[in-house]
Symmetry: none
Subunit: 415 residues, 2 copies
């Protein structure tokens, strides 16, 4: 069962908005066992839309179309679909009642164009819009299913979850799809591939392995298809455990979570607390942690000690250490980690000091030199990294590597 | 001049990642005067990629392809392009040196698969990758231009900005396009449109006005096309000054800069320093500031006082205040701002305390309640915001609004 997504509207093509709808829809479809073959964003232009529909219908069984259903002149999806199917439009009573209900609720004046939003294709099943005026449409034509929905995310999401996905499941007997993600850190994609090549080479045809790298971490995703989801899960678990057996020291968690969320969950389960002492990462580690709901159970807070003075006043780094070894040194970062642990009374702390760049490097300490220290229950560890000369990457890599060191120390001490 | 973007890789089709590359590329291309006709995401599958290339080449003059250039087995872009153009591969010496340089720098063992990353199409001009091992490729074939780039955002971005866009501009004689951006904050899109409607209505046909809203800020972008860029610049400057005259109090800067960068520049020019005291934004404001090179001239550092204890120990908020008014209160946030100013010895400070959600709201203080205070030379100001129930948005809106309040106080005090 293959689907294609077509997004209609110039705002994506001029880069004004990022198309988050498609990723969300693709996730939901995959979970339901429907593979997405292609995602296309096309302009509000009749011929271009007609071509996109024709091409998609040659590749896929289900074509999901979003956007272009608004009341303004540039919204031409409906009349173009009517042309594509060679049918007329009819006013749908339910959709009309819905438009009237919404306008009366907001006491807005209703225009002729608003009433026309209740028009749908003659050959469609209307999908009522609980959150807006434009109805969705479900069309079956020559063995294919077409669904047209508004581009407004929460209007589309409601229709997909409540109506479209259930109706698709009802209409087809679908193959099961099972995904299993292994989050690794501290190892590059190629070396990882080399270490697990025996497992990769032995995968059966119905199971695929994808490498999803992102600065400092690589996600391994096993995806399988089959008729029986239980036996498929077991089969995938077997290959996952063989992979983990080969690269255990680099595995953070067997789940599709961000690194920092995996660590927060582990620490939360063990009742451990964390503080941070950040220089070159400038609050980035703190913000990674605190973007997750519930992070306050683990994360107490910390210092962004950008200036040397603040390293002394906030983290009790001695002036002698700063003078003798400099801010970017093992001595300083160890004192930062220990200072955070003592001053903020946490079980663990992360400290980072480095030269993010593009300026500030010296011969001894070029841009990209970063010291990380982790203070824990029994010891404080430190490690030097030598990254490149891109500021944003140095910050990101510093954060990911510091978090991975924290993960390893917690794992070791809490084993 | 039409372009198409093709994104190759299953991770977008299963919804694991959102395709942010395409929006970014579309923006850059539009700024250069190149219209994007279609954006397609296709799977790592030979025939599918071949079809996508064929279809795109029938519609566009320039086809930009990202993804599928990694060293692993699922990355098949290169060999599929070779098949499409019916050419072989050659090892590019520059690319090989680059791969070796990167591996020696990180002292990682280099594998056969890594060396093969230096292979490029016989018929291409190699685009060196400053940030990774996979080179980009520029191919001219039958009057069309094809560019293949890695899918890793910063690798692609560097190639686009430094090499691809300039080379496209060089290859075609493009009409002059002049853009002028006005960054506004503290006012919504509709109200802004209402206030400047007289100017918008009087724009000549060759000048367009775009509203680019993002949580808390709206960029107004005037874009003009013409043969003479100097007179075009003057014409656009005239309309820009008319717009600024109408909404001056909401204008941060007439440049396409992030809000925090505009503030850093202003404060840096005046020799002013800044510290932060963050609760619900959890280091996000600090990380926004420190991602910009040179921020250390202005930004000294600050506290991420996530727990109540740390509000007391780091920022000298009194226990009585926390007990009597709670962490999310005007009283607390004022003490946080004043504490940061005193403890971190800066000229200005930003303090934020709120309920980011999704939990932690009460009847009095529902999720989305956020207090911001700014301490300056002559006074400390505070303001309450009531945002919605989305955590990420609440953090972002809190940061943007706090930065805008800082901007206004600096402007007022330094006038």
């Amino acid at each position: 069962m293959l689907a294609e997504l077509i997004t209609i509207g110039d705002e994506i093509l001029i880069g004004q908005i990022v198309d988050t709808n498609s990723a969300w829809m693709a996730q939901k479809l995959n979970l339901a066992g429907i593979k997405v073959k292609q995602i296309s964003s096309v302009s509000d232009e009749r011929q271009h839309i007609l071509n996109a529909l024709r091409e998609a219908s040659q590749r896929a069984d289900i074509i999901l179309i979003t956007g272009g259903l608004g009341p303004t002149k540039d919204d031409i999806t409906k009349k173009t679909l009517a042309e594509y199917f060679n049918v007329g439009l009819r006013t749908d009573q339910g959709a009309l009642d819905n438009v009237k209900r919404i306008f009366s609720k907001y006491s807005s004046p209703m225009l002729e164009t608003n009433l026309r939003q209740a028009e749908v294709l003659e050959n469609c099943t209307t999908i009522l819009n609980q959150n807006g005026t434009a109805p969705g449409m479900w069309i079956e034509n020559k063995g294919k299913i077409y669904v047209s929905m508004p581009g407004v995310p929460f209007e589309m999401m409601y229709m997909m979850e409540e109506l479209v996905i259930p109706k698709i499941k009802e209409s087809f007997k679908l193959e099961s799809i099972v995904h299993h993600t292994i989050l690794t850190a501290g190892i590059g994609e190629s070396l990882l591939a080399d270490k697990i090549s025996t497992v990769e080479d032995s995968l059966p045809e119905n199971i695929g392995l994808a490498y999803l790298p992102k600065l400092g971490v690589v996600r391994l995703r096993l995806s399988g298809r089959g008729s029986d989801s239980e036996s498929l899960k077991k089969e995938i678990a077997h290959y996952a455990s063989r992979i983990v057996g080969l690269v255990d020291e680099f595995v953070v968690i067997e789940a599709d979570l961000p690194l920092e969320k995996a660590i927060l969950d582990t620490m939360s389960a063990k009742g451990l607390t964390l503080s941070t002492a950040e220089s070159c990462t400038g609050g980035y580690i703190a913000s990674l942690l605190t973007k997750h709901a519930g992070s306050s159970k683990v994360y107490l807070g910390g210092a962004v000690s950008y200036s040397n003075d603040l390293k002394t006043t906030m983290l009790s780094v001695s002036e002698e250490t700063l003078y003798e070894y400099g801010a970017v040194s093992e001595e300083t970062v160890l004192e930062m980690a220990n200072g955070a642990l003592a001053n903020y009374k946490s079980d663990y702390s992360i400290a980072v000091s480095g030269i993010a760049g593009p300026d500030g490097g010296t011969e001894d300490k070029p841009v990209g030199t970063v010291w990380v220290a982790i203070a824990g229950k029994t010891k404080t560890i430190s490690r030097k990294f030598q990254f490149g000369n891109k500021r944003a990457q140095n910050i990101e890599r510093s954060a990911i590597n510091a978090l991975f060191l924290l993960h390893k120390l917690v794992k070791e001490e809490q084993a």
